[in-house]
């Protein structure tokens, strides 16, 4: 019977059911490991401290700049948190768990692959989210509070960005033989995507150019676009939009974010490995 054989071949990965209880248990273990790993902890905690310091020196800016500078600083903080804590730290964590054969162990148990990946990602999510909240507080205390035109878009930026970078971290981990080589394999995304993320060119500064058009479709850019829209109501041309207009303007960045997430998922399925190469 050839049919049974072809069915067996098609079997693929277990269904992606996620039990919050299991993810929470795995996340607690991962959080313990993060706290006990000085380097990773330093990466995770250095940033907020630096940010608060940065914001505290920016108090003297003019009133008209405050509506732009607040959202921009907030965005820098979020992007750095997502790129370093979620993407970089998580790539390293996945490689480490794989090389120490922990992923292999979890696979033989009851947890699904999605739960294992989510459990390992949860602490990074929490740190990224906490940094954003801290950023909001710091911006509000040290600068003119941003308008927070559409907080929902800010949440989409942080959570959606974290999910996308988790899939990319899983894929990148598969291309990294060791924890050390993850320092190299994570560079392309950081080097290529960060300049296009629109962090420092003020909104509108480079708008309309070819590079800007290309930049719109790079992975980190939609996070910036959504943060600026959400925090300041600012679109790519520096216009201040109303709540209703921000939703319309958010469609493209949300689409780009989803596209990268889907791409990341494919890449993760293709490249992610659950045990070391023999």
């Amino acid at each position: 019977m050839t049919t049974t054989i072809s069915n067996a071949r098609r079997s693929a990965t277990p269904t992606a059911t996620i039990s919050p209880r299991r993810v929470a248990v795995l996340a607690r273990a991962e959080l313990r490991l993060l706290v006990r790993n000085r380097t990773a902890l330093f990466n995770a905690l250095l940033l907020p401290a630096a940010t608060v310091g940065l914001f505290s020196t920016m108090g003297g800016l003019g009133d008209e700049a405050a509506g732009v500078v607040g959202p921009m600083l907030l965005n820098i903080l979020t992007i750095m948190a997502l790129a370093l804590v979620v993407y970089y730290n998580l790539t390293v964590a996945y490689v480490a768990r794989r090389e120490e054969l922990v992923l292999k162990r979890y696979l033989v148990g009851e947890a699904s692959r999605a739960e294992i990946l989510a459990g390992a990602a949860a602490p990074a999510f929490a740190v990224a989210l906490a940094q954003t909240v801290l950023g909001v507080v710091a911006v509000s205390v040290f600068l003119e509070p941003p308008a927070f035109v559409n907080p929902l878009l800010m949440i989409v930026a942080v959570v959606g960005g974290a999910v996308m970078l988790t899939t990319l971290a899983a894929a990148t981990s598969g291309l990294s033989r060791t924890v050390e080589s993850a320092q190299l394999t994570t560079l392309p995304l950081l080097i290529v995507a960060l300049p296009f993320a629109g962090l420092f060119g003020g909104p509108g500064a480079s708008s309309g150019g070819v590079l800007d058009t290309i930049g719109t479709f790079t992975p980190l850019r939609p996070i910036t676009d959504l943060m600026l829209l959400g925090a300041g109501g600012l679109d790519g041309d520096g216009q201040v939009l109303t709540l209703a207009e921000t939703f319309a303007a958010a469609r493209l960045p949300v689409a780009v974010l989803i596209a990268w997430t889907i791409l990341g998922q494919f890449a993760a399925r293709r490249w992610m490995r659950w045990e070391p190469r023999r």
Binding site: S11, R22, A24, L33, R36, V102, V108, G109
Partner: protein, 322 residues
């Protein structure tokens, strides 16, 4: 013990590219039974066990555990399985108790963590980081996680490798306790002594096929006993006999082997009769049989004898290929 097969395998195959590691294996493990799977390195044990554990799909044949396909229907039975891999890792920075509690938290029916750690004699190490454990202690923690979910079916892949003799016996007692409670166990091991101690049945895997199954007694019974001695005359001088000098022994398998020092080695299927004949022969000629060693076959001997056969088969294969 009922005869319901908990593990049911027919014609299982597994290929890596052009190499076929598992070549049509049949195996049943009934409820409450322990079957030990033996085989030298490269016999396909791990490749086969991974099929039954549901970690890899089979490339042919039928594999059923608790009536389900362990790979495609894994979700339906995984809560009833306990799996101890040959090599799986731990996060070294977690303590023993944290590792065990994390694992328990992912299970449907976890046993009490303290109780399980006590069962593998790790209670006193509960607050120690896993990185500081000895190899044997890590192996016991492996076992603790495998039995944490109170499994109906337990897969143990070399569970006592690296354990000291005392821990090994403790592990055996633990497994026997689980068998007494009705757990079904598929064990792979390098230690034939372990198989003799624990197994209801043994299956020997060779070149991706099961070449023999049965109880230890069955397998050993098929293997000739061994007789060994050195012949000396009355003055204590060694006499090197030829094969023709020896009495005719009815159960002898192959030709007796006589080395330069005069040591005679032979294998027989009728140990008592042949030993009697031999002693009479020596007595009549006033010879002494020094270093006399007569023993029934052990599982180890049966296993090694099969391994010799395998090497012969391998040569045949080469000829066919050439």
């Amino acid at each position: 013990m009922t005869s319901e097969p908990i593990v049911h395998v027919r014609g299982a195959r597994r290929r890596y590219g052009t190499f076929e590691a598992v070549r049509g294996v049949d195996l049943d493990v009934r409820r409450g039974e322990l079957v030990a799977l033996l085989g030298t390195n490269g016999a396909g044990r791990t490749s086969f066990v991974e099929l039954v554990e549901g970690l890899a799909p089979s490339d042919g044949g039928t594999v059923r555990v608790l009536g389900r396909d362990p790979y495609r229907q894994r979700r339906e039975i995984v809560a009833s399985l306990g799996i101890m891999l040959q090599s799986a890792g731990f996060s070294g920075d977690l303590t023993v108790a944290e590792t065990a509690r994390t694992w328990a938290g992912t299970l449907t029916r976890p046993r009490a963590v303290d109780e399980v750690l006590a069962a593998v004699d790790l209670s006193h190490r509960a607050d120690v980081r896993v990185a500081s454990l000895s190899g044997g202690e890590k192996r016991r923690l492996d076992l603790a996680l495998a039995i944490m979910g109170d499994p109906e079916v337990l897969f143990l892949d070399e569970p006592t490798t690296g354990l000291d003799p005392e821990s090994r016996r403790a592990t055996w007692r633990l497994v026997q306790g689980m068998l007494a409670r009705g757990t079904t166990v598929l064990l792979t091991t390098h230690y034939l002594e372990e198989a003799e101690e624990l197994a209801d049945r043994i299956a020997i895997l060779q070149g991706g096929r099961i070449v023999r199954t049965g109880s230890v007694a069955d397998i050993v019974a098929a293997e000739p006993a061994r007789l060994e001695f050195v012949v000396r005359n009355r003055g204590g001088r060694e006499v090197v006999p030829t094969v023709d000098d020896l009495p005719s022994l009815e159960g002898v398998v192959d030709v007796p082997e006589i080395d330069r020092t005069g040591r005679v080695r032979l294998r027989t299927t009728t140990l008592q009769d042949d030993l009697f004949t031999l002693l009479q022969w020596a007595d009549a000629r006033q010879l002494r049989l020094d270093d006399l060693d007569a023993r029934s076959a052990s599982l180890e001997q049966a296993f090694l004898a099969m391994d010799d056969d395998r090497n012969d088969t391998r040569n045949d294969d080469t000829e066919v290929a050439a």
